[in-house]
């Protein structure tokens, strides 16, 4: 039985002269929210892509549920139980909200090669999709076109689609980005409960949310993790303050 759900070991990734990941090792344990923070350009997105399978690291390994998945693609990792939300909403914009959620449920169930039955009358998929929409508060909007949703609602739908996969861990890339204070607060409350279901690796710029939620925080600067610890450890860490929190502390 794996005691860590996700583990990266000494990941390195360079783009030409720029080293975007430098010996990055971190892990995600059951029941926790592990936040990844760092200034713009610190290599958070590059790291996320290596974990999700969009980018192959130059060296190092990614382990999911105790299995080395470094050579597996995004699809295989998603099937293993990696539920991902994107920094920039990646949704089927022509579809209704419900259709996007059903797409997620279909992916979670697998076996999409049915050519005759109506997918929007599949009771099992609809049940999964509707439950997920209800949990993020999008039930009212189920029949709206996704393109017509507000930015915040799209963020909610991103989370809902990830939920339909019934994942074993979540990889959330700035789920709060662009949400108002109220929306951000609501989502913070939701993620707080979600960690019991599956642990979350959370990349987030909203520091209030991070310090309210995270069991552990890792700070990424110039591709390197300079500290990992509880919120208090991170607040107290001199290097972190200098590299990252300085401006906020001064204020």
């Amino acid at each position: 039985m794996a005691d860590v759900v996700l583990k990266t070991q000494a990941l390195n990734k360079s783009f030409g002269a720029l080293q975007a990941s430098r010996d990055v090792s971190l892990d995600l344990r059951p029941g926790e929210i592990h936040a990844l923070i760092g200034p713009n350009g610190a290599g958070k997105s590059t790291l996320i892509k290596q974990i999700a399978g969009n980018l192959v690291p130059d060296s190092g390994t990614v382990e999911l549920l105790g299995q080395d998945v470094t050579a597996l693609d995004t699809v295989a990792r998603a099937r293993m139980g990696l539920g991902r939300t994107f920094q920039i909403s990646a949704l089927a914009m022509e579809y209704t909200v419900l259709q996007n959620a059903v797409l997620g449920a279909l992916g979670g169930r697998g076996r999409p090669f049915h050519f005759f039955r109506n997918v929007m009358k599949d009771a099992e998929l609809l049940e999964t999709a509707r439950t997920a929409l209800e949990r993020v508060g999008l039930t009212q909007d189920a029949n709206r076109r996704t393109a017509d949703l507000s930015h915040g609602q799209r963020r909610q739908l991103e989370v809902a689609v990830a939920l339909t996969l019934k994942p074993k861990l979540f990889l959330m890339d700035e789920p709060m980005a662009g949400l108002g204070t109220a929306g951000s607060k609501a989502l913070t409350g939701f993620l707080d409960g979600l960690r019991q279901e599956a642990p979350i690796l959370l990349v987030e710029h909203d520091m209030d949310a991070v310090f309210a939620l995270a069991d552990r925080i890792s700070v990424l600067v110039y591709g390197q993790i300079i500290a990992t610890g509880t919120a208090d450890d991170i607040r107290a860490n001199a290097e972190v303050r200098r590299a990252y929190l300085g401006e906020e502390d001064a204020a």
Binding site: A78, A92, E94, Q99, V119, L165
Partner: protein
């Protein structure tokens, strides 16, 4: 079920495509029946392409390959049947055939296999490269057919008598029209169900957002390849019927002009609209017939129309009349 403007329009079109040749039949105007048959067959080719292009977002400029393979399946089988020369004798005797059902089966199987190979290679690319590779495959087959002297080479193959269908007299224009029309209707029903199926949902999602589809654990490549094969098979079937209509098959069916024409049907009617190819093919035949009588250069007008539709009516003819497509729920 509520009848939307689009579904009313669809019913009207499919009814018109039936009523016009029936009226022509009662007035003894076989030429009009042949035009309607041609429209139905070309619409079928478009229905095939529309699965790849409209649903899957795969801009294939090589569908003439499947159209032509279907055509040659008919031509080769029928040529052997009329010359009493077996196609091959080992491992078993195969004599060619003038039976449409068998010809269709061969056309569908061969065009599906071709689509599998061409798709597997070209779907590794996307965008402009995909267009160019499908175009290149189509042209390869075109030049192969030109140099294939055993089956007419550049001159093509003529078949003296139209192939047979059990219980029907296929030489009677209205009966041959009935065959084409029924197949078109079946293909439309199939395409409609496909669009609403789990496969259709995933395929169209891969067109809209590839990252999303991968993130839910589905493989865009497999979805697209499957769509490409289905698409090629339907266009191949249309090719077999088209060759039978003309009792003639030549490399022209494989040329990129043909790919372009099939794409024009889809765009004229409305990309991704289920009945778009029906509207497009019917309009094309109508223009060819009406304007062709006025000028040999009628395609200039077609070009202008196509430009206007692409610029001002993105949903094609159907979009212009029925408005924006509703996301089906």
């Amino acid at each position: 079920m509520m009848l939307t403007r689009e579904s009313l329009l669809n019913w009207a079109m499919i009814a018109a495509l039936l009523i016009v040749p029936l009226a022509a039949w009662s007035l003894d105007e076989p030429f009009i029946i042949t035009l309607a048959t041609k429209a139905a067959i070309l619409a079928l080719a478009g229905v095939g392409l529309n699965i790849a292009l409209g649903l899957g977002g795969l801009i294939s400029l090589g569908h003439a390959a499947f159209f032509g393979i279907g055509g040659y399946a008919m031509g080769i089988l029928a040529a052997h049947a009329q010359n009493y020369e077996p196609l091959f004798e080992w491992p078993f005797l195969f004599e060619g055939s003038n039976q449409m059902p068998l010809i269709w089966l061969v056309a569908v199987v061969f065009s599906a296999c071709a689509a599998l190979v061409i798709g597997a290679l070209s779907l590794r690319t996307s965008g402009v490269y995909f267009i160019m590779i499908t175009l290149a495959f189509g042209q390869m087959l075109y030049y192969f057919a030109i140099s294939w002297s055993a089956y007419g080479g550049e001159d093509g193959l003529s078949i003296w008598v139209r192939n047979e269908f059990p219980g029907l007299n296929t030489l009677d224009p209205i009966q041959f029209f009935a065959i084409a029309y029924v197949i078109l209707c079946l293909a439309l029903v199939f395409a409609a169900r496909l669009a609403r199926s789990p496969f259709g949902l995933a395929l169209a999602a891969a067109r809209q957002n590839e990252d999303r589809v991968q993130a839910v654990g589905l493989t865009p490549f497999t979805l697209r390849l499957t769509a490409f094969v289905i698409s090629g098979a339907i266009t191949g079937l249309a090719g077999a019927l088209f060759a039978d209509l003309n009792r003639f098959v030549s490399p022209t069916m494989l040329s990129w002009h043909t790919s372009g024409e099939i794409m024009i049907f889809v765009i004229l009617g409305g990309v991704g609209r289920l009945y778009g190819p029906v509207a497009g093919a019917a309009l094309y035949i109508l223009l060819e017939h009406l304007l062709g009588g006025i000028s040999d250069y009628w395609q200039i007008f077609l070009g202008v129309l196509l430009l206007l539709i692409v610029l001002f009516a993105r949903g094609g003819l159907i979009g212009a009349i029925a408005g924006r497509e509703k996301a089906h729920g």
